[in-house]
Amino acid sequence: MRKLFPPELLARDGRFTRVTNEERFGDPRGPRGLAGGRPGKKGNNRLTPDLPEAPDAARALMHGIFVGEIQALEGAGRTCWDFETGKGREEAPFELKLDMARQCWDEARHCEISVKLSDWMGTELGEFSESAFLYEAACNPDPVLRLTGVNRALEGLAIDVFTTMKDFGDIAGDPVLEFCEDWMLADEVTHVKMGSDWLRRLTADDPERRANALEFQRVVDKLFSFGGLRGETDENPIRLARRFRELAGFSDGEIDEISNVSEEATREAASLGAEAGSEVGATA
């Protein structure tokens, strides 16, 4: 069986439609629009059940989580296989592989939960497009960078999404959504904690490697702040789940940094949007 399996060869049946990162990030409208959100409408961007588009937005978001669970399963499985067992820089300790195997078990369960939740929400599998970004972050040749990119950055994002949707289910009066999110959230906290613990253990004597890993996490965090989709204000549709991140091993400083990265992504998106808007104005 080959090592370092490429994302484009991941097995999917005919129901699924892959969207490339070029399509995803090359959208001229930007992640939140040329205005970088809804200026002047503070407090109006949260995904709440009373919005007319809330059901479809919730279905789309949970389908994104579903394909993310599949890729997290594939990524954790690859980490068990791609590296020889050992304590060397290009190896993975046996205990780390055990943690990844446990994560596979969790992600497989999350896939089953997500399939049932999709059915519950009236969503067909493959109804929305799939982007392979999570698995791509799990293709890094350094296991520590995989852990920071996937377990700390993307599974950390999952903590934020699950917390947001758990609250959504509570407000909407949908206990099935609420409990599904709560159960998956508990596992995600564990996965992020694994990432935090292994990052510290594997880089205890290698500050350069740790710095590289944290920089990779920062890049992934910024990329998937989606121009301010996630943050700590009511203008951000997805809320940064500070408390659960603390439980997952993030220090206050690290959480502050993610918050700053999100704000930075918001400002950059707004700036790019203003540029694009002025170009359009000039063309018109």
């Binding site: 439609t17 969207v19 001229p28 939140r32 007319p52 929400m121 109804e127 009066g173």
Partner: protein
């Protein structure tokens, strides 16, 4: 004959077609029985999907382009999405315009809890009434109360059962069936 206007005429960021959107809207107006002119204002500068009724008289609906987008093909128009989004809002507008419906609160004052309390609420589940080529995604928080249709493994774990509050005006059969839902 109702006149439907869609703006903008020309698209710079998405591959939408104003004529196709207008055609779907005209069909919906006929099926819903709304004989009023309609203006659909699409904000193509954002991929978000927020929608709202800007005005009832004249009838103006504001849509962010993500709401009309094909969920599998970024920036491409989906007539099904247009029908779902406009159908939902037009049913709500029809309820509001109908004098027999009473005097419901404005949209911004409508919350899930107000619906549960039995406040007269314009339709939120209307696309269920529309003929569709494919099964409709009908997620309108279908499980406000425990129902026999819950996934079996979840039932024992759920301790909250919300009381049935009676049928609300404008709620379709599917939603009402769920709200009446029996404890499994």
């Amino acid at each position: 004959m109702a006149v439907v206007t869609v703006t903008p005429d020309e698209w710079q960021f998405v591959a939408f077609d104003s004529g196709r959107i207008a055609a779907v809207a005209e069909k919906l107006l006929g099926e819903i029985g709304l004989d009023v002119d309609l203006k659909v204002e699409v904000d193509e500068t954002t991929p978000m999907g927020r929608v709202s009724t800007s005005s009832l008289q004249p009838l103006v609906i504001a849509v962010e382009s993500g709401a009309f987008e094909d969920p599998k093909r970024p920036r491409q128009l989906s007539e099904q999405a247009v029908a779902d989004v406009l159908g939902r809002l037009l049913h709500r507008c029809a309820d509001r315009i109908d004098p027999a419906f009473g005097d419901p609160p404005p949209d911004v004052a409508l919350t899930c809890s107000s619906r549960r309390r039995g406040t007269p609420t314009p339709s939120v589940a209307a696309p269920a009434r529309l003929p569709r080529a494919a099964p409709a995604p009908l997620y309108h928080f279908r499980n406000r109360t425990a129902s026999a249709t819950w996934p079996t493994p979840l039932r024992p774990a759920v301790g909250r059962v919300r009381p049935h509050v009676g049928r609300h005006p404008g709620v379709c059969d599917e939603t009402d069936g769920v709200e009446v839902g029996r404890v499994g």
